[in-house]
């Protein structure tokens, strides 16, 4: 048994202190320790993108990051974007464009798109497709997800 390590992580604006095994993945820490089950766990090896969260503002795979590495950082999960009564603008765009069916990939799509919208101009839909290429959806065929991110990007640029 390896020694546990004390960490303090800000998650969605709230500080959490915990003692964790080094091998605990950030995805499992969020889901199991903090009960934030909005972050989904799909492939658990960095391919599907469902577990994407923001760490200090950058999108990361929470299945490829250890909770100990999140010590002292600011994590944002899908729960930070809004809730059922008050959807955030990107969530609203997904609802409006019908950009989800089963919803499994949606938290990762939303967090990836949040980072893309901050970092890239996304002039063309090809740029959006490139940006979403690390997130797998098995229902929608991606068309409506691209449309939702396009809508969010246009609203961003109109401001």
């Amino acid at each position: 048994m390896t020694a546990k390590i004390s960490i303090t992580v800000s998650v969605n604006g709230e500080n959490h202190a915990a003692e964790v095994e080094p091998r605990l993945l950030l995805a499992d820490f969020l889901r199991e320790n903090l009960d934030l089950t909005g972050t989904h766990v799909g492939c658990e090896h960095g391919i599907c993108g469902a577990c994407t969260v923001l760490m200090n503002g950058d999108s990361v795979r929470s299945c490829l990051t250890f909770a100990v590495q999140a010590d002292g950082t600011k994590i944002e999960t899908v729960e930070s974007l809004g809730d059922i009564d008050a959807l955030g603008p990107l969530q609203e765009a997904f609802r409006e464009k019908h950009a989800l069916q089963c919803g499994f990939c949606t938290p990762g799509m939303l967090m990836t798109a949040t980072d893309m919208l901050r970092k890239y101009r996304l002039e063309t839909d090809d740029d959006i497709r490139d940006g979403l290429s690390g997130n797998i959806c098995r229902c929608t065929g991606y068309q409506n997800i691209v449309a939702a991110v396009r809508s969010a990007a246009d609203k961003r640029d109109a401001k």
Binding site: M1, T2, A3, I5, E21, P22, R23, L24, L25, D28, E44, H45, G46, G49, T52, D58, S59, V60, R61, C63, L64, T65, F66, V68, Q69, T112, D115, M116, K119, R129, D130, G131, S133, G134, N135
Partner: protein, 284 residues
């Protein structure tokens, strides 16, 4: 929890990191961006009892100009930093182009140049860029660091000349002559996937004649390699001869992404494309 248990050491300096590696008698490994390592841990392909996390080492991610017109890139520079660096775009546009093909944003936010070179995937962009651009790989070790030429660094898939207690601290890219033309092409099944095959080149010209070229092959050998026969053929007989030679230079494998024959075909086609682009871009 998918990975097997391990002990975790957080290094805040290079000295601390190499001391921890030396103290482990070859048992410890370095954890940098983790984008290739952690999947292997989750699958339990790798079972390492101690990890030395170098993410907290301040200043190891700098991208700095060198006096010869090149760059010194700290081992912890993230792929996203290379992708968006004006220095990289200005001095090594071929590297700027290659970075657009590296995985996905969330991976690029974490993955590091030191990690990519240490991991040494023969189909990855950064090891190929190191070979194309004659990188010097600067390492540290408790017993003293060294410089390793990229041409001597890669031994086999996922295998380098790094010793178990040695880490990369920086990568130096010597400056290119003004007016050097460049080309980069890769074929992958999906954007961001590892390349089935890729070719990159830099070319210097005088009038209509090529005076110097380097051509590097990606995913076409068990390491990234220079296509020396193709370079010679380009000088003597032009693009078509070079492309045909690159096909013969390639020794690709068969796998579910493509047959060896298909990869050889790609070597020829992509070599023709990158040389055409590089010669068009070169100042005469």
């Amino acid at each position: 929890m998918k990975p097997a248990p391990f002990d975790y050491v957080r290094a805040s300096t290079v000295d601390e990191a190499v001391a921890a590696l030396a103290a482990s008698n070859g048992e410890a490994k370095v954890l940098a961006g983790g984008q290739s390592l952690v999947p292997m841990l989750n699958f339990r392909i790798v079972d390492t009892p101690i990890f030395v996390d170098i993410n907290g080492i301040q200043g190891l991610d700098r991208i700095e100009e060198t006096t010869d017109g090149g760059l010194r890139i700290g081992a912890l520079a993230r792929h996203f930093a290379l992708e968006t660096s004006d220095l990289v775009k200005d001095r090594f546009p071929v590297l700027h182009e290659a970075m657009k093909h590296v995985a996905h944003l969330a991976i690029r936010n974490r993955g590091t140049i030191g990690g990519s070179l240490s991991h040494a995937d023969p189909a990855a962009e950064l090891p190929t860029m190191a070979v194309l651009l004659d990188a010097k790989i600067i390492t540290a070790r408790a017993s003293g660091g060294r410089e390793i030429a990229a041409a001597d660094f890669f031994v086999a898939p996922l295998t380098t000349t790094l010793e178990p207690d040695e880490i990369i601290v920086a990568v130096e890219l010597p400056g290119l002559a003004p007016g050097t033309g460049w080309g980069f092409e890769e074929f992958a099944q999906r954007r961001g996937d590892f390349a089935v095959a890729g070719v990159s080149a830099i070319v210097s010209m005088d009038g209509q004649s090529v005076t110097e070229s380097r051509i590097a092959l990606m995913g076409l050998h068990d390491t990234p390699v220079r296509a020396h026969a193709a370079e010679a053929a380009l000088l003597d007989d032009g693009i078509d001869a070079a492309a045909a030679a690159a096909r013969l230079d390639a020794e690709p494998m068969n796998d579910l992404h493509g047959s060896a024959d298909y990869r050889r075909h790609l070597a020829e086609v992509l070599t023709r494309r990158v040389l055409t682009a590089a010669m068009e871009r070169a100042a005469r």
